[in-house]
């Protein structure tokens, strides 16, 4: 009874607090400045900007210089660069949910991924279209014209046509190869699947593991099945089945074909020795140390591994090999667009827009390409010299398709990539993988 005297009021208090907590109705105001005159409304104030570059990296140094410039140009401006990448995202998103968003942030919008259009749909993001359609005072052309038309679908919200993100960098998924080693061994860069198999054979004969891959991060193993299905099934069909819950993976023979090709690589011992227990950082480092001849990765690889790339390392890139007779998209390249969005609740939207404008300027993007090897989605920016051949990849791409079909942000994540890992680890064959993925997809999609 005595205990109850304490516990009951305490529990009642907690319940009251719980009842008051959360309950955000999601209402936000989209009251940006006048599109025609927003430049004149810029005033100095604190500005919090999300950044993807970690402390001490050259990428952050460039952004810090950009911040210094903004502070110098507008009295009272104080820019805070907040790390907003990878493991910091849950905390950052929680800030958005609790009504304390960053003024400018990454990862809040992707028009090609339904899981990432919800912030825009709920009014948390500023529609940038009116501002992008105005002429830029420096170039005299609309700000929107800066961006390559191929990335427009990533920027636009299909539900209302608004633009809620502008790209600060473009990550293309390509097959990196050790060009020096390939030249030495007389191997042609693998443009087709047969080329890839031939390269495997030649590399193994030379005592080099053909392909670096990590076994400790399933989505990176899944990059292989993603790309094979792009070639054997096609983006739209694969996406519909894998994350859209439309149809079944057994309906299209291309899925099995892709898995069988992956099994062929596994059976040919194409992957890095001990890849099963190798972390992705180590796998990437081993590629640059010459332990493996190729690695399938995003173009961020070069800037991410800048510190471990030997000075004399010759890098080459090609799009993922085409599959002869494949029913999918042979000319498509998978990509991820790193977009920045402006919070509708930002207290200084003009200053936030100015940050976005400066970050996406040809000048800043060129610096980033040349100094840290970032590929840009801004027209007129040269390809990064650290990734020879990337300009050809971009030029030859029929289309850019969003990476991973949205798997990692959907319940399919618990189903698809673990089974791909089982296939690569030799736990099951292609047919068994297909059956297990089918069973899992039917469960998570309820179809």
């Amino acid at each position: 009874m005595k205990t109850m005297r304490f516990v009951v009021p305490l529990a009642a208090g907690c319940l009251a607090l719980a009842a008051c907590g959360g309950g955000d109705d999601g209402d936000t105001t989209d009251a940006g400045p006048d599109a025609a005159s927003w430049h004149e409304e810029i005033e100095g104030s604190p500005l919090e900007v999300g950044v993807l570059s970690a402390e001490g990296t050259p990428g952050l140094a460039i952004l810090q210089e950009l911040a210094d410039g903004l502070e110098a140009d507008y009295d009272g401006t104080e820019v805070t660069l907040t790390f907003a990448n990878t493991d910091a995202r849950p905390g950052i998103e929680q800030r958005w949910r609790s009504g304390d968003p960053l003024d400018v942030d990454y990862g809040m919008f992707d028009g090609t991924n339904p899981a990432l259009t919800v912030w825009a749909d709920d009014g948390a993001l500023l529609d940038l279209r009116p501002y992008l359609e105005q002429n830029d005072p420096e170039t005299g052309a609309p700000w929107l014209d800066r961006f390559s038309p191929t990335v427009r679908e990533f920027m636009e919200n299909p539900s209302d046509g608004g633009i809620y993100g502008v790209p600060s960098e473009l990550s293309l998924h390509v097959l990196f190869y050790n060009a020096g080693l390939f030249t030495e061994l007389g191997i042609e860069p693998p443009r087709t699947w047969d080329d890839l198999l031939a390269a495997n054979t030649a590399l193994k004969a030379a005592g080099v593991d053909p392909i670096a891959v990590t076994g400790l991060f399933e989505p990176y193993m899944g990059m292989w099945s993603d790309h094979l299905w792009l070639r054997t099934v096609g983006y739209d069909t694969a996406r519909a089945v894998l994350t859209g819950g439309e149809g079944h993976i057994t309906d299209d023979p291309g899925f099995l074909e892709g898995l069988e090709m992956l099994q062929q690589l596994r059976d040919d011992d194409a992957f890095l020795t001990g890849f099963e227990g190798t972390d992705f950082t180590a796998a990437q480092a081993q590629f640059f140390q010459g332990d493996a001849g190729m690695i399938l990765m995003g173009t961020w690889l070069v800037s991410e591994m800048a510190d471990v790339i030997p000075a004399d390392f010759e890098l080459g890139v090609v799009p993922f090999p085409t599959v002869e007779g494949g029913a999918g998209d042979q000319g498509a390249v998978m990509a991820a667009l790193q977009e920045i969005s402006v919070a509708a609740e930002s207290e200084n939207i003009p200053l936030a827009l100015e940050w976005a404008r400066r970050l996406t300027s040809v000048e800043t993007q060129t610096r980033r390409a040349q100094e840290i090897g970032e590929v840009s989605a801004v027209v007129g920016v040269p390809s990064p010299p650290g990734i020879p051949g990337i300009d050809q990849v971009v030029a030859e791409a029929d289309s850019l398709e969003p990476r991973d079909y949205g798997i990692t942000t959907s319940p399919a994540n618990e189903v698809v990539y673990p089974e791909i890992a089982r296939l690569l680890f030799g736990e099951q064959d292609a047919q068994q993988t297909l059956e297990r993925v089918d069973e899992g997809l039917r469960r998570v999609h309820g179809n």
Binding site: L216, E218, G277
Partner: protein
């Protein structure tokens, strides 16, 4: 009169503790239960869905797998922890030369952050560049080399080992305190009766420490069932879910898929299971108090 005066004094003393308990334990607990009956959008809007999340949990093979792994982690880790911790605590209780140094060595990993330890061991376990496989090969035991974190049969024990390595110092300290509290006259009587140190340890010390073991086992179960950091950093739950435990699954469900209600339901179910298991262990290991 005296009692009511006593009560008036007690309440101000209890209030700070009750406040902390309410804010940092009861409120989160009640709020988690509240959230578990809701469905959330990524942007933070929610609606009540009754017990739907709980029915999903029961049918979710991913959750059942995580629960199974959590139990395995607890069992395997416990088997690695207690015999070694008891042995070390007993040895440190023998007034050996350099005892302070050994205490420091055993306790040192505790002060390292879990992230640092996890990353360090990730490289130690690396199949070709790490320390273990080359050492095994150097000793002519190459057949024992594994991919450790990449092998579904060794990944969970490997992570459990690191968890134990990191935290064993705390358990040794707790056990050492238990050994030190043993009445010297009882031990002395045993020695006079001709019992060797092993016999003394097995037949006198262990039975007398039984209550302490019971508490420590319950503590280990509670701690290990909630493990997160080492699994998250070292394997992310892989390969193919073989190290996925409830903490890592909840994290993915909540923060990658934004299903906060479902993740909360997973947490509540885990709390209930832990309470039941702790109660059972408590009951099974309880015995009549020893009088000495």
């Amino acid at each position: 009169m005296h009692r009511s005066a006593q009560r008036r004094i007690i309440i101000p003393f209890l209030l700070p503790a009750l406040l902390l308990l309410g804010v940092f334990f009861l409120y989160p607990l009640v709020r988690t239960v509240d959230i578990s009956f809701t469905e959330w959008t990524r942007t933070g809007s929610y609606s009540y869905v009754g017990v739907e999340n709980y029915t999903r949990v029961v049918d979710d093979p991913g959750y059942l797998n995580a629960l199974k792994n959590a139990f395995l982690f607890t069992l395997v880790g416990g088997c690695m922890l207690f015999p070694v911790a008891i042995a070390i605590a007993w040895a440190l209780n023998q007034r050996v030369h350099g005892e302070r140094f050994f205490r420091f060595v055993v306790f040192a990993p505790v002060v390292l952050s879990a992230a640092v330890v996890a990353l360090m061991w990730k490289f130690v376990y690396h199949p070709t560049l790490g320390l273990i496989n080359p050492a095994l090969e150097g000793l002519g035991l190459g057949a024992l080399a594994r991919t450790w974190l990449g092998d579904a049969s060794t990944a969970l024990p490997a992570v459990a080992f690191v968890t134990v390595w990191h935290g064993i110092g705390i358990w040794v300290v707790l056990l050492s305190a238990g050994f030190e509290r043993l009445p010297p006259d009882v031990l002395e009587a045993g020695r006079i009766d001709g019992a060797g140190e092993w016999r003394l340890f097995r037949s006198v010390m262990l039975p007398m420490l039984r209550d302490l073991f019971r508490i420590l086992v319950v503590l280990w179960i509670v701690q290990s069932m909630q493990a997160f950091a080492f699994v998250f950093i070292m394997t992310g739950g892989g390969p193919f879910g073989s190290t996925d435990i409830v903490g890592t699954l909840m994290y993915r469900v909540a923060f990658e898929r934004s299903e906060f209600g479902y993740a909360a339901a997973m947490g509540v179910v885990l709390v209930v299971i832990m309470l039941i298991v702790a109660q059972i262990v408590n009951k099974v290991m309880k015995r009549d108090e020893l009088q000495y």
